[in-house]
Symmetry: C2
Subunit: 353 residues, 2 copies
């Protein structure tokens, strides 16, 4: 048996209604809700069919129906296609983000934090944003300077303008000439190289050329290495974790505690980021319903993610986490608009600079 037009309409009505109320919806409600002009009895028959097909579930014999994961999935897939043209819907809130992005602060960190917060406030769900991941980055600039007689400041810039500093202590003060020589040594040998491609042989060669300052060069190389290390545990910013308390189905102690922990230990979220980045099939938007999510503690949630891309292949993820009955419609179109803005604005303003 396939889904005819009418069944689809009924299913849609059930889901819409359930998204709003969070209560199982009965046949009588649907009978009024839709423009089909059918009696509740007819609806009941159809609902029995839909249940048999696995699109809806009856929590107990005398209750209404709620959508199953399969039902949600159908709804979402259907909806995304439909929405394609009316992209400019959720403009209201996204315009504010536009503004934030334009007056972009020096620290990308604070931009992302603010964005997460704003998204959370507008959607009433929990949000997460991962900082763009830098991969295969090339060293753009490396420099050591004397901050005071015993302290050397290392500054490293990689493509994408990620900057890393560290202070190294030295036993004997370096004079200006040595400093200059070492800087030239480092830059001529390392500039333009992908960090991953720096191997042991190169390091030992460098150390050899540095002579008595081999130790110092070694420490500088440690700093270089730490750029990669930093990169491995991706920065993730979250906001609106408290929103889960607005949805009774998530707010019981057991679940709430788990979810809060998940948001706190951002590490678990990074699985989600990874999955999103690898699974991305081109649309850039992904929906995980219930158990589909790669994070087990979120099995009672739905997650909608978007990947955004800056220039130079830096990719990041935005995620919205809410109950199964989240307003997919609004969330997806919000994310779509935001994504497209991010993609374009960031690119543009980076070309300026």
């Amino acid at each position: 048996m396939d889904l005819d037009e009418r069944k689809l309409k009924i299913l849609q009505a059930i889901i819409r209604n359930y998204l709003e109320t969070g209560e199982p919806v009965g046949s009588r409600t649907i009978s009024k809700y839709t423009d089909l002009n059918l009696s509740s009895a007819t609806i009941r028959n159809e609902m029995a069919d839909l249940e048999e097909l696995g699109y809806i579930i009856q929590p107990h014999t005398s209750a209404g129906r709620i959508p199953s994961d399969k039902g949600y999935r159908l709804y979402v897939d259907h909806m995304i296609l439909e929405k394609e043209e009316q992209l400019n819907q959720a403009t209201q809130e996204v315009k504010e983000m536009h503004k934030i992005l334009l007056e972009r602060e020096d620290k990308m960190e604070s931009v992302l934090k603010q964005m997460a917060k704003m998204l959370a406030e507008n959607t009433n769900y929990a949000t997460m944003i991962s900082a763009p991941q830098v991969r295969g980055n090339k060293l753009k600039f490396i420099q050591i300077s004397r901050v005071d007689p015993r302290q050397i400041l290392t500054t490293i810039v990689v493509e994408g303008n990620v900057i890393k500093n560290s202070i190294i202590s030295v036993a004997d003060p370096l004079d200006d000439e040595t400093l200059l020589k070492l800087n030239i040594l480092l830059n001529t040998n390392l500039n333009g190289l992908a960090i991953e491609s720096i191997n042991l042989a190169m390091i030992s060669k460098l150390k050899q050329q540095a002579g008595v300052y081999a130790d110092l060069v070694g420490e500088v190389m440690d700093v270089v290495a730490s750029v990669i290390k930093d990169d491995e545990n991706i920065e993730i910013y979250t906001s609106g974790a408290n929103n889960i308390f607005k949805y009774p189905e998530l707010a019981d102690n057991q679940r709430a505690s788990e979810l809060i922990t998940t948001f706190e230990e951002k590490q678990m979220l990074s699985e989600l980021v990874q999955d999103t980045l690898t699974e991305d099939k081109g649309t850039g938007i992904q929906v995980y319903i219930g158990n589909e999510t790669p994070v087990k503690t979120m099995k009672d949630c739905s997650v909608v993610t978007a990947t955004y891309e800056l220039e130079e292949g830096m990719k990041g993820t935005i995620g919205i986490i809410g109950p199964r009955r989240m307003d997919y419609d609004k969330v997806i179109s919000t994310l779509k608009t935001l994504k497209s803005q991010l993609d374009t604005i960031y690119k543009k303003s980076d070309e300026e600079s």
Copy 2:
């Protein structure tokens, strides 16, 4: 009427018992619990007195008693004095921190994060740590370098080795000589100055001397200014927020949601940090019971804070947030030990460098 020895002992027994169980404690329990060898009837009389004095409360007529804020306060004040000598009690967990601190990473951020986490795991309460606040700091080093033809990297180091970078875009490439000249200009004029003391007159003088590069110097000064701005919203790291679910009196939706929000919006916690730093009377440990806390959303919690101090007057705060019936004993001694270790270890390892 004053508190005689016996009343004190009874009060103490009540509190101890309540801390453990979280249930109102009755006279019979106390009669067995203490070594006073008194019947429950006698205890009842004493308890009636204690209640009249305001140290304990009866939730309802036929229930046992629970400590009032006044009772907790007495207990805590008493206990702190008693504990003074047995400082080495909570060594177990603190030794691990010792280790972390010794192998201290370059980023203070990650040390503090880890510390917060470890504290939370050991105590089963929520924790917060504020990064040391830098005040009245002097510029130690300032430098601009050319990263690529159109991009200038600004690096600023202030006392305490706080480093700040920013990339500035320029329309026309700068040659080496100009760069050197500007660096000398900036360093000779600004080095050693407290950032707060840089005024408009100096800036305009600098700009004048920079000639055609006045704009660039202006942007550099903006970066300098942002060091202060960064400082104003203190970095605060939290951990173990989910622990509040372990205490039923905090775990109802209303309260939990408020608390989670408080931990998320670190801003509210900064009030606590401020209060702790200003109220500190020398012991370095402070206890806020219930309504005593400056953060309203925590009125059902108790907070124990410690201020730690690194060299150069950099002060930070560690806080442990739990239910009113937190294990003050353990928390206070843990914080004391940790504080003393932080005070000494950090100082020492900074002298090394």
